[in-house]
């Protein structure tokens, strides 16, 4: 899982007076199995960069290559297949489907992939166990606590066994105890060989043993390594 980011720019509202350069000529290289942290205040561009790597958005110029595949210019059908197979995203606000249960939320990722029901149920079970949320499988998400929602989001992000895990401000809505638990889970994921990128300004992430690099970002550019 090698990630190459070459001269990536992202400008919102291009051509209008409200034009805003969110990312300026970003170059980055991430090795397989590496765990890195993008740190910086909100508005520094780290979330934007993350969403580009996740294929959720497209850069205004430049290239993003993941595992040899140019994902910055993929048509929707392929971009979504990329997300469904290779990437697991954990969002700051969890972004779960409130009206469904934990199990159903986790399953949702697998539905378009064409697996049969039995395989899906098996994968869901495994993933929920990994995230320690199996005991709440049939509970509706809206009645979960913050920490439990986070674990549900983790289960969902892992169910398809992606090689790349992206986390956007994962601990922003958690208390310290749950934040530490989250970091533990990340550690075990790192041990499984997954590539991990965390965008956060939580100081807890500044000095983790398994994190190889902490990349500081400011005003859309990389500060110092």
């Amino acid at each position: 899982m090698m990630i190459e980011i070459n001269s990536v720019n992202k400008i919102y509202n291009e051509g209008t007076p409200q034009a805003f350069e969110a990312l300026k000529s970003i170059d980055m290289h991430i090795d397989e199995g590496e765990a890195i942290v993008l740190s910086g205040v909100s508005g520094s561009g780290k979330s934007t960069l993350l969403s580009l790597i996740a294929g959720l958005d497209k850069p205004s110029s430049g290239k993003i290559i993941v595992d040899g595949e140019l994902i910055s210019k993929l048509p929707d059908l392929h971009a979504s297949a990329y997300r469904a197979k290779t990437v697991g995203v954990i969002f700051q606000h969890f972004n779960l489907l409130e009206s469904l249960s934990v199990e159903e939320n986790v399953m949702a990722t697998l539905i378009p992939s064409g697996f049969d029901m039995i395989t899906i149920q098996e994968m869901t079970r495994k993933s929920m166990a990994l995230a320690s949320i199996s005991h709440k499988a049939t509970t509706d998400v809206k009645s979960l606590s913050g920490g439990e929602k986070q674990r549900c989001a983790i289960a969902r992000a892992l169910v398809h066994e992606p090689k790349l895990i992206l986390c956007d401000e994962p601990t922003a809505n958690l208390d310290r105890a749950n934040s530490l638990k989250f970091i533990e889970i990340l550690h075990s994921l790192h041990n499984m060989g997954k590539t991990i990128i965390v965008a956060t300004h939580d100081p807890l992430f500044e000095s983790l043993s398994f994190v190889r690099r902490v990349i500081h970002m400011r005003d859309g550019a990389i500060g110092n390594e």
Binding site: E14, S61, K73, L74, P75, L77
Partner: protein, 322 residues
Amino acid sequence: MNEILLSNEVIVYLLSETLLYLLLFIAFLVTLGLLKKWNFNAFTAEQFILENRSYLVMTIIFFVILLKVVLLPYFVYTIDNLSDLIPGAMCGAGVIKANGYGNPLLILKIIILFLSGLWLTVNSIDLGAKNYPYLKLKSWFFVFIFILLSTEFALDILYFTHIETSNPVSCCSVIFGQIGGANGLPFGLDIPKLMILFYLLFLLLVLAILADNALLTIVASILFASISYYAVVYVFGTYIYELPTHQCPFCMLQDHYYYIGYLVWGLLFLGVFFAIDSAIMYYFFKINSKALKKISLILLGLFVLLSSAYIAVYYIKNGVFL
């Protein structure tokens, strides 16, 4: 004219066609925009919007074709019902001939369905690639189909507004049959020769499909489709009606023959469509679709089986052929 227009089926039919045409018109306008401004390599927000709009076009086309597949038999059903109001017409055949627009309309409908099916295939292939290689091709293709669709819509309105309930029309026995002394069969074929040709062409088509020979498949399909038309009207039909002089493609769509006509014509159309579709995919796009070939073989096989069954059953019941 008024009674025709006020009949329930015609109102429903024309209303549906109008709504579909409106949607298609929107798709047409969007396609024009796509043709003008499409540039896959641009990273602009505009290009992104265009990619989204291309989804609108394909959604509309998909929806429309789905409904047109339903509207074609419904059109036939409407026509059949109108035969009560028009003197001399015993089935749809007479109603179609009530004015000069009927036949072209029907043929155009079939052609449009066919081309739309092909469009969906090209679209599928285009989406499968990573850089929309066939976007311009499929857009121009749609523009062409849209011209045909506009003609169809115009013909729809012209046809239904020009049916005179005071002019008697001929019944199918006159149009297709031998009452007027007309032979009807091309190239002076007679029934036995027609049947031999029918089964031979079927064999040829099957072999062409199995041998993955795209060009031969296309040619054989067209030949087989033409021969089948004559075979169904002049031979198989007579066994369905159990009357050697009753040669009509429409009467078999009525309820007293258990609507078998829909099955017969449907199987033929779909079988030929999938055969040509898979051949085109292979020849132009180098994609070999086993599934499509299988489906077309099954459908064509069922068609031949079903039609032949009527002859077989009649022979078994009566010991002679008609």
